[in-house]
Amino acid sequence: MNLREYLAWLYYQYLLITGIYVLEPWEKSIFNSILFSVITMVIYTSYVFVPIHVRLALEFFSGIFGGQPESTMALVN
């Protein structure tokens, strides 16, 4: 019950901070759905692409500091 109240209070704070509190319910739904879809897309994109970019970056930097000769074909693969 305490957790549920706390989540309700957090939702109330979100309504107040963004100013959505004063809008009519259908406007609230539009804003919430747009925000939710944007956040979902951000999470999905980061889940798919961030590991690859991190691995590439690490290999690039280890190439500068380590200095081991690696073929460019190995980098692309």
Binding site: T18, Y21, V22
Partner: protein, 570 residues
């Protein structure tokens, strides 16, 4: 304000503490009046607080009590969120305007007719956009109908809105005993029982209610003459004149006092009536920063040296227009320095004591009494009877020649109908009560009670962690809210808990600095204030309003907790 060893200077001289890297001039002190004291400020700096304290001075400007004002800076995160919420509300405003334009949605507010579509648009500016799309959505927090006396508690009519505040439906229920923290009822004279109400009822039986004429024609009753003599005696000046409406007193008399070729120096945050009067007069208006004596002195020097704009002739007169207490900030004017400046540069001073008359000073005579100055130093003293006397109307007081001139040259005296007799009687009775001439000490007690209430309430709110603006002695307490949704949320939550407050936003304040303004009254007892404070704390936690990052020293807080009400019977 307590004086600890760190605040009291060793030899009793001016202690000018520079806080937080702020220079002394930021405080608003006139630099030229403190020329020899700058080198003493070095060893008194304490970087945490953002308050500014002036203790007594020994030869410059006499402040016989500490002048503590605090304007904590807007914290960054609420400011960012406020801009963001205004941006989101603006986008939704454009969406709704689009729907209204293409007739997908019905337009409930005034708009142009079909035939006028190609004319110059009337409702496209920002004010109308703001009204349509933001103000109407939270409009249920204003214009609440009262059905009784707005004393310490009031009765409100309950109303709901089926279509999101475009129309209201009254359910018929009355919310009883709502604690009133918004009425300008500083000394508690807004009551329907007691001496003042009885006197007003008696006079109505004798004179009726309407006067049916202007002061100049047949509207000058003997009660008006007595009222004016009483006001002059109350303020300690030669003579006074009363008008039917406070707003009209300012806007109709400033044009009579200054015209073309005169210079008006008015404060940044002056009331709309002063601004309107200044604009109607046709004089040149220059604005100085709020309560900032250095800015004022710079303007004065520049005006005297350069004269009128094109011709370089000397100004016919220079009139400084200020207020006693500024109702949106809760700040008190720096009167001693202003009088010193006015005497040095030979300007005139117009002091609007709408909120401070009756509410400040040990005898309730306003801001002049609060600082212990001579009322003859202020050239034109103006005030209203609406706030502390529980009536309506305004007055102007000063030298006899000035008032005689205004009797024939003021628009309000010549064209406006005079004050109604029961109102005049209410003022006479309440003023006599404050002066102690009716034989009781009610007035004196109320003045002291208000001072205690104001200090107690402010200290408690600051200790709880809210950002409060203004001087620590003023009975007007603005509490910062910042976000537009929080104005509505705060007001509604307080009403649910049976307390009525006034929320203020744009355009009365700058757009991100919206606030809730509490007006303390002498009619509030300590229990009422404690209940109000606990509810404000609860709502503040719910709505997350405790932004302050100042640390109040524990010794000071303890002083006010234990001692401030020790001599009041519970």
């Amino acid at each position: 304000m307590t004086e600890s060893p760190s605040t009291k200077p060793a030899n009793g001289d001016v202690c000018q503490r520079v806080k937080n890297g702020l220079k002394p001039e930021r405080n608003g002190l006139a630099k030229s009046l403190y020329r020899c004291h700058e080198k003493k400020s070095k060893h008194h700096g304490q970087p945490e607080e953002e308050e500014e304290v002036n203790a007594t001075s020994h030869h410059g400007v006499p402040y016989c009590r500490p002048f503590v004002e605090s304007y904590e800076q807007t914290p960054m995160l609420p400011a960012v969120f406020t801009y963001m919420s205004y941006g989101i509300l603006t986008i939704f405003g454009y969406l709704r305007d689009f729907l209204r334009y293409w007739k997908i949605e019905r337009c409930n507010i005034a708009g142009e007719k079909e035939e006028q579509r190609d004319f110059v648009p009337l409702y496209q500016d920002f004010e109308n956009f703001y009204t349509r799309n933001i103000y109407i959505r939270i409009r249920d927090n204003w214009n609440r109908p009262l059905c009784g006396v707005p004393g310490a508690t009031m009765d409100l009519l309950e109303r709901t809105s089926p279509d999101y505040n475009w129309t209201f439906v009254q359910s018929g229920r009355v919310l009883q005993d709502v604690i009133n923290l918004g009425s300008y009822n500083y000394l508690g004279f807004a009551e329907n029982k007691g001496l003042c109400a009885d006197a007003a009822a008696e006079i109505t039986k004798k004179y009726g209610v309407g006067v049916a004429s202007t002061r100049q024609e047949l509207g000058n009753l003997d009660r008006h003459e007595e009222l004016e003599k009483l006001v002059a005696r109350f303020l300690g000046v030669e003579s006074a004149m009363s008008f039917g409406m406070g707003f009209a007193t300012n806007s109709m008399n400033i044009p009579a006092l200054s015209g073309k070729g005169c210079l008006l120096l008015s404060d940044e945050l002056n009331h709309a009536s002063l601004v309107l009067g200044a604009r109607l007069s046709g004089s040149t208006i220059r604005v100085f920063k709020h309560n900032n004596m250095q800015s004022l002195e710079k303007l004065l020097r520049e005006a005297i040296v350069h004269g009128q704009p094109r011709t370089r002739r000397p100004w016919k007169k220079i009139l400084i227009v200020v207020e006693g207490i500024y109702s949106m900030e809760g700040s008190i004017v720096r009167l001693p320095e202003m009088i010193a400046l006015k005497k040095r540069y030979k300007a005139y001073l117009y002091l609007d004591e709408a909120h401070s008359i009756g509410a400040l000073g040990p005898r309730g005579r306003g801001v002049v009494d609060y600082f212990g100055l001579d009322p003859c130093d202020v050239d034109v003293m103006m005030g209203t009877f609406t706030k502390s006397f529980g009536a309506a109307g305004g007055y102007i007081a000063g030298k006899r020649e000035l008032i005689e001139y205004l009797r024939s040259h003021s628009h309000s005296a010549v064209y406006a109908s005079s004050m109604s007799p029961p109102v005049v009687e209410q003022i006479i009775t309440s003023m006599k009560c404050i002066m102690g001439e009716d034989g009781t000490t009610i007035g004196c007690d109320r003045v002291h009670q208000l001072a205690k209430n104001a200090v107690y309430f402010r200290r408690k709110l600051q200790k709880m962690g809210f950002i409060i603006y203004g001087n620590e002695d003023s009975p007007v307490v603005p509490m910062m809210l910042y976000m537009p949704a929080k104005i509505a949320a705060f007001s509604r939550e307080m009403l649910k808990r049976n307390i009525g407050v006034v929320g203020v936003g744009f355009p009365a304040t700058p757009i991100i600095e919206s606030r809730a303004r509490f007006c303390i009254s002498a009619a509030h007892t300590k229990d009422v204030l404690d209940r109000a404070l606990s509810v404000i704390s609860e709502v503040g936690d719910l709505v997350n309003l405790k932004y302050s990052r100042q640390k109040i020293q524990p010794s000071v807080a303890r002083f006010f907790d234990d001692n401030v009400f020790e001599d009041i019977d519970d």
